[in-house]
């Protein structure tokens, strides 16, 4: 009986079936893609936003009278691998230590005082307790640094573009530090203060300054959870339960705290303009995705509703008869919606296939890779199809179930 009800609906209500099918395909495809995007958007966008630069800076902790002594303070390079042992170690995606110091140099017999900077360019950092290495370096935290030429090796350096411009230097020229001659292998453009620096490998900088194993500060790029109201609470005033929750959430503040704990004598602080911008962008993107999904759902449900309203109107007598026979709302609804359910299940499968295609395009166009959680799209599409059917059928069903059988059967309505 149900089978014949479904077949009749498919055969006799071709217009309604077409509208329901295409509304559902479009709706489920767009919403499934959007929701699947929203599951991954945080991770994908976080990685994209890491191009904003480091979001945590680690510096030597200067306490009390130490600040008055005027002596530079350093962190130990050997402590850096311990960053990969913290609770949120997998969220650390870039580390770049810097040793900053003045350099007495000589170019063509003329003496200069330069600002010098040593860093990792392409470092394979051993991860404690693991066999592998973490590939990291300055470009993992400042993707916008541009080198015209090549990266320096032993007794080589880069000249900041502003500095090179002022001194009229080019690639291949040399500069002497003490008795050591360094060749310029590239001109560095950063758009910030490093354009006035000489930049070389950390090892070379430590060697010529006699500061083996020392670094001035460390830039760290970490994937973080957007800051919310709770994240801004002062950890020292939290209850033990709150502190545990805060510590185990990937806020930039809690990650900074954990880094401080593993690097001796350090003070780690978030770069707020980066951290907050990331949080805001993520929040707004997610809101946009959810709103777009909601609008699509409403539009599809309205299409479905209009088609069902017209279909049920044509079947008023049939519905009146069902009521006269003592049919309750639930059983009549099941009969009426059996055909619609068959169409929406098929359409949801169509929507799923379309969402595979859409998610692939969106993933590749926007993030450079397809979305990963594609298997999730099928249950999502089916759930959306069911929800859309319920939302779209609500008003037509309500109207149909309120028909007065005596009036409808007499053909007066």
């Amino acid at each position: 009986m149900f089978f014949r009800v479904i077949i009749n609906f498919l055969r006799k209500e071709k217009k309604a079936v077409t509208v329901i099918f295409f509304s559902t395909v479009a709706g489920t495809a767009v919403i499934a893609t959007m929701l699947s995007l929203s599951f991954e958007i945080e991770d994908k966008v976080k990685r994209e936003l890491r191009s904003f630069g480091a979001n945590i800076i680690v510096e030597p902790e200067v306490k009390g009278l130490m600040s008055l002594a005027g002596q530079p303070h350093y962190l130990m390079e050997s402590d850096i691998p311990r960053v990969k042992t913290i609770f949120w170690r997998h969220n650390i995606i870039g580390i770049a230590p810097f040793l900053e110091a003045t350099l007495d140099g000589n170019i063509n017999g003329k003496a200069y005082k330069f600002n010098g900077l040593g860093t990792w360019f392409d470092k394979e950092l051993p991860v404690p307790g693991e066999k592998g290495f973490m590939k990291t370096g300055v470009f993992t935290v400042v993707s916008w640094w541009y080198v015209d030429g090549r990266l320096p090796l032993k007794r080589e350096c880069l000249f900041g573009s502003a500095l090179a411009g002022r001194l009229g230097l080019k690639i291949g020229d040399t500069v002497t530090f003490g008795k050591e001659v360094f060749t310029i292998t590239g001109i560095l453009s950063t758009g910030s203060r490093e354009d006035d620096f000489i930049v070389m490998s950390l090892e070379e900088m430590q060697r010529i300054k006699g500061l083996a194993g020392r670094v001035s500060y460390i830039w760290i790029s970490a994937l973080t959870t957007p800051m919310d109201e709770f994240a801004y609470k002062d950890p020292s005033k939290m209850t033990p339960a709150e502190y545990e929750k805060w510590y185990c959430t990937g806020y930039v503040t809690s990650i900074a705290k954990q880094i401080e704990e593993v690097i001796r004598g350090s003070s780690a602080r978030p770069v707020w303009r980066v951290a907050e911008a990331e949080g805001n962008i993520l929040r707004k993107l997610k809101l946009a995705v959810y709103l777009l999904s909601l609008i699509t759902l409403l539009a599809s449900a309205m299409g479905l509703s209009a088609a069902l309203m017209s279909s049920f109107l044509k079947r008023s007598r049939e519905i009146g008869l069902m009521k006269a026979l003592g049919g309750g709302g639930l059983k009549i609804s099941l009969l009426l919606l059996s055909g619609v359910a068959a169409v929406t299940v098929l359409a949801s499968l169509g929507g799923f296939l379309l969402s595979l295609f859409l998610s692939d395009i969106i993933g590749k166009e926007v993030f450079g890779t397809g979305l990963e959680n594609r298997v999730l799209l099928l249950p999502i599409a089916l759930l959306i199809g069911i929800f859309m059917t319920i939302a779209g059928a609500f008003l037509p069903l309500r109207r149909s179930l309120s028909l007065k059988p005596a009036i409808v059967l007499k053909g007066m309505e």
Binding site: R4, I7, G328, I407
Partner: protein
């Protein structure tokens, strides 16, 4: 017993019932006659819980139905009433068997064997899988009778059940109703404007302008 007291029904454009009082005994076959617009179908609809009166009451064995909510009335209808309409209201895309099973579905659970047996009782065992369009008017009305009786109702309400049939088919349907009434003992309230049809009942109410003007009993 069905008790009707002070039943009035007022539509925006007309008054259908102007105060009807009557009692219908169990197992009675009551015919209601009257010209078009006399209120007989309105009375039948209210008796069957398909419509609400403007005023008055209808009770079945002391149970008032005019104060019931829609869903309570639906339960009441499926448990107690079988309907036969003038036009054989059948679902056109379902077979005779499925049309009978539809009433089972609304009542409890479908039982194909029982539905086929019901159609056999009305002489349609050879037409189980035919659609309404493949059946004659008399056969369609017999499907309606099978559907009306499948859930063993206490009362059968028939609104011009032979209105669209020729004399021969009318006789066949009435004989069938008479046989089922004798065997199963349900109450019949049959509305008609045909004296021949009305004569099959044991009691005849004549209505005019929303009132009962005559109440006659026949003893055969």
């Amino acid at each position: 017993m069905i008790k009707v007291r002070g039943l009035k029904k007022v539509y925006p454009s007309a008054v259908a019932l102007r105060g009807v009082d009557m009692d219908i005994q169990d197992n009675e076959w009551l015919s209601i006659m009257g010209p078009s617009g006399s209120g007989k179908s309105t009375l039948l609809n209210i008796l069957g819980g398909l419509d609400y009166p403007t005023e008055g009451s209808v009770s079945y064995d002391g149970k008032e139905i005019t104060t019931m909510k829609e869903d309570e009335l639906a339960v009441f209808r499926r448990e107690n009433i079988g309907f036969i309409f003038q036009q054989s209201y059948l679902i056109p895309y379902l077979t005779a068997l499925e049309n009978v099973m539809l009433a089972q579905y609304f009542h409890s659970i479908v039982d194909e064997k029982e539905a086929a047996e019901a159609l056999k009782r009305v002489g349609l065992s050879h037409r189980l899988h035919h659609r309404p369009s493949e059946l004659s008017g008399g056969e369609q009305q017999r499907v309606c009778i099978a559907r009306a009786l499948i859930n063993s109702p206490k009362v059968l309400l028939a609104d011009e059940p032979t209105g669209n049939l020729d004399r021969e088919n009318t006789r066949v349907i009435l004989e069938l109703l008479g046989e089922l009434h004798s065997n199963e003992g349900f109450t019949i309230v049959l509305v008609t404007h045909d004296p021949y049809v009305a004569g099959w009942g044991k009691r005849l109410l004549t209505m005019e302008d929303g009132r009962i003007i005559k109440d006659e009993s026949f003893h055969s």
